[in-house]
Amino acid sequence: MQAFTKLKGLVAPMDRANVDTDAIIPKQFLKSIKRSGYGPFLFDEWRYEDRGEPGMDCALRPKRRDFVLNQPRYQDAQILLARENFGCGSSREHAPWAILDAGFSCVIAPSFADIFYNNCFKNGILPIVLDSAAVDQLFTECFSQPGYSLEIELESQTVRTPTGQTFTFEVDAFRKHCLLNGLDDIALTLAQADAIRDFERQRRNTAPWLA
């Protein structure tokens, strides 16, 4: 997994609450058996006027002009600014894969759905929770200032605005450690193999119907 340490990047505002993973990456793209290639189809139904199908050349498709990610000012954005309960619905990890593939490695929102939040960390994406007032402020600044960018530092758990204002965010220690170092947690868990075997041995006595 790609490590995440710090990032200075352009911000794209996704100004809707309850953005679900069906909207982030519609079901027809879930038929792929790969982890990459989802970026052009991120928010497909909002982004294009036609119905997207896997394998299409998105450069040739009619785009919805009013959709935020289609506006020239947000091209090459790396930070997605979002509203409450971002990533709700389906557990599809294709959602963070699409976000990452489209060039984003950080999402900021007042709240996230559980599974999506968790899936981000597994893919080197940092999901940041800031309070609603802070998120409101970032939206206002982002809309009013072309080229608006933020500086994110995971080590100090801070988000810095262009004026130098700083917001701090919470992130749990283990996830932070894995993200900073790009660690694969399967290897970490397998280092506990003896503990897992002990547990299984005990369980054969206490709950033999589960063995």
Binding site: D22, I196, A207
Partner: protein, 470 residues
Amino acid sequence: MAQTLFDKVWRQHIVKQNDDGSVLLYIDRHLVHEVTSPQAFEGLRMAGRKPWRAGAAIATPDHNVPTTNRDKGIADPVSRTQVEALDNNCAEFGITEFGLDDIRQGVVHVMGPEQGLILPGMTVVCGDSHTSTHGAFGAIAMGIGTSEVEHVLATQCLIQKKPKVMRINIEGELASGITGKDIALYLIGQIGTAGGTGYALEFAGAAIRSLSMEARMSLCNMAIEAGARCGMVAVDDTTIDYVKARPYAPEGELWRKATTAWSELHSDADAVFDRELSFNAADIAPQVSWGTSPEMTLPITASVPNPDDARDEVQREGWQRALAYMGLQAGTPLQEIAIDKVFIGSCTNGRIEDFRAAASMIKGGRVADHVKLALAVPGSGLVKQQAEAEGLDVIFREAGFEWREPGCSMCLAMNADRLEPGERCASTSNRNFEGRQGMGGRTHLVSPAMAAAAAIAGRFVDIRTWGKGE
């Protein structure tokens, strides 16, 4: 010390307590389907890893499978590749799979309980958010992403932080015709789609105890729509009677030991919850969702709401966008909304009881002329077989429904079953998100009886009064 049901099951599965408060949690059962697993198997292959305990995993294809002409195989080459990838991966890694030609094949969350693969007190995961279904058995059942599917395959464990626990009591008696689905929609309407975020939910109270296992599964299935990590119901005789004699259930001496242990699987009388909510069962009417989020739900007697009545600006904008997408006017009575298609099935309502309830509504009636398609899609091959043994397929067919092969079908429209732009559907599935049942499609979530009645009437009706001189 008094413990909640969640705490009891959680503690029994801690392999190791980590310093940061997370635990290494042991997973008893892992259900696998074709959409969220190929990248996980690929990960194992690339790292040269094997499943830790291949016997804990059971797979079936469901999302991509056609519901007609099964004998001809899967026409869509991309879907076919994915289903074949599941077949090959299961063969390579030694995992039991109920493939397309197996009578046990079906929606993973219908297949699992039906086979007795889900037992009280288990930890259950699947790369699918509706894994919460299995909490109906007093199990901790959670949806996970593909990276975690790989993690569980490789280690039989997950790294987890204990969520907070919320008990939701539904007291009193449900009115006749009110189902687990109506309770779920009602609750989500009350607490919102993020109302359960960060919590494990326990559904309790007299009304919950009176529910069948099918109804408890429908309810727990939608715990994820309230944002919860999982939903649970305490184990009682209803649970044990359901599990008994299923193919994978323990037998003989093991069964006796198991049932003794299972009798402890309820919250202690003085257990303390992080949050507790109570509702009166008598307040729950048949529900219909009107918008593009499961929280946008109202009783059938209500009208489409006015965005001016929203609680704040974010909600007002959400309602406005939903009304535009759904093609609805504020103030329209829900009973005046006409439908184009009907879908009865899914992991929420694809069980035998659901088809019985739906059939009881249509008996003798015919699908309204303007309804273009009414689909009845059993949740598994065994549900289909049982329904046919009871003659339900005949009732559906004679009314003008199509009686299909089992799978997820129009719940998410990954196969050919879908809505066209602008089409309006009465659906027994669990999500009414934009585009969920097809690009531009408009979904109204309802119970099976409500969907069947809507098919016949051509619009939503109140099943409590419909056909009784309404």
